[in-house]
């Protein structure tokens, strides 16, 4: 029995050393849908609320009509692209790369499934892009579907001329 306390201490240390998930429940309020480039990107991921803290890339190429919306937070990555043809506000779909969303494994959109992108403001002078999105993404490895809902973004972008 004399070893029980050191072992319990080790278990406690091991538990504390594990990185904890801190994603809040889905009833946490998402940021308002605005169109002034205030740097928000949020959505529900199944029953969780995702609000990006890092936005490594928001890039728009006005020659090709290419848009890259990439961000990550706590091991979850969004990498969404329209590779060409996005020149004005309107309704579009993301191009499939097989890894629109990554959480340990890549999840991608599928043909015929929900894949909705609405650009509500595209301003290359002010370098602002805003919009809404909803999509279902699938992991071939896990044979699993994740529902992305109520997505909204209001971002400053890098414009490639």
């Amino acid at each position: 029995m004399k070893f029980i306390y050191p072992i319990l201490c080790l278990i406690l240390i091991a538990l504390l050393s594990c990185r904890k998930e801190k994603i809040k429940a889905g009833n946490k309020r998402l940021p308002n849908e605005t169109q002034r480039g205030r740097g928000i990107f949020g959505c529900y991921i199944d029953d969780q609320t995702y609000i990006a803290r890092k936005q490594p890339a928001v890039v728009y190429n006005e020659t090709d009509g290419y848009l890259n919306l990439s961000n990550d937070f706590q091991g979850r990555y969004f990498r969404m692209f329209v590779y060409n043809g996005l020149y004005t506000e309107g309704i579009y779909a993301f191009d499939s790369t097989g890894e629109e969303f990554i959480y340990r494994y890549p999840y991608g959109v599928k043909g015929g499934e929900l894949n909705y992108l609405e650009i509500t403001r595209l301003d290359t002078d002010e370098e602002v892009v805003s919009g809404k999105f909803e999509l279902d993404v699938f992991s071939n490895v896990l044979n699993k579907k994740i529902k992305i809902r109520d997505g909204r973004f209001d971002l400053k972008m890098e414009v490639i001329h």
Binding site: M1, I4, I7, L8, I11, C18, Y66, N68, S70, R104
Partner: protein
């Protein structure tokens, strides 16, 4: 005896807890079309190469090596030669270069994949190539000749070549060993 059982239970619990602390690695670079000078892929080695692991592959990523993408004699060449942080972990295999070659049509400016090699520049006998029987794809998804940007995705199965000199003649044959390059993507500026 009861104490011993308890200790073993605690020890096993502790082991499981420690194993459950999974280290999170960042994913491969995104499939961008911006000339960000990124390339990334997984290399899967046969299990007999891996004495310390049973997960079947190692991840290899590479960034900011724009000097290794260039055009010469109507060929566009990409070389990934950065061993990243794999030194010493998988013997000499971590020092292999991945070289992809594309034919560049000077009139239409189309690029077509033509060749791929995986080799150690310091060890000519360790050379893998894409033989005719192996599956592969290499798709150029974006090419902008004015901005000199090329982007694409690729996957290869590469076979090791065994070369021997017999009766003063060089004989080339495959050893039967192969590596798989999977989930490849590049977004490079060339010069």
């Amino acid at each position: 005896m009861e104490d011993l059982t308890l200790k073993w239970r605690l020890f096993i619990s502790l082991t499981f807890l420690l194993m459950s602390c999974e280290e999170e690695k960042g994913p491969l670079p995104a499939k961008t079309h911006e000339g960000l000078n990124t390339i990334g892929y997984y290399v899967e080695f046969p299990l007999n190469y891996q004495s310390n692991s049973n997960n079947g592959y190692i991840a290899k990523t590479w960034r900011d090596h724009g000097d290794s993408c260039y055009v010469t004699n109507n060929e566009l060449i990409i070389i990934d030669s950065d061993p990243n942080n794999l030194a010493g972990f998988y013997g000499s295999l971590e020092n292999h270069d991945l070289k992809m070659t594309f034919q560049l049509d000077p009139v239409s400016e189309n690029v077509d994949f033509s060749d791929v090699e995986y080799y150690n520049p310091l060890n000519p006998s360790s050379y893998y190539f894409q033989d005719g029987d192996s599956s592969y794809y290499c798709d150029v998804t974006y090419h902008n000749t004015s901005k000199k940007i090329i982007s694409g995705i690729f996957a290869f199965t590469l076979t090791q070549v065994d070369s021997v000199v017999f009766n003063d003649t060089l004989h080339l044959d495959t050893t039967g060993l192969s590596v798989k390059v999977t989930q490849g993507r590049f977004d490079l500026k060339y010069h």
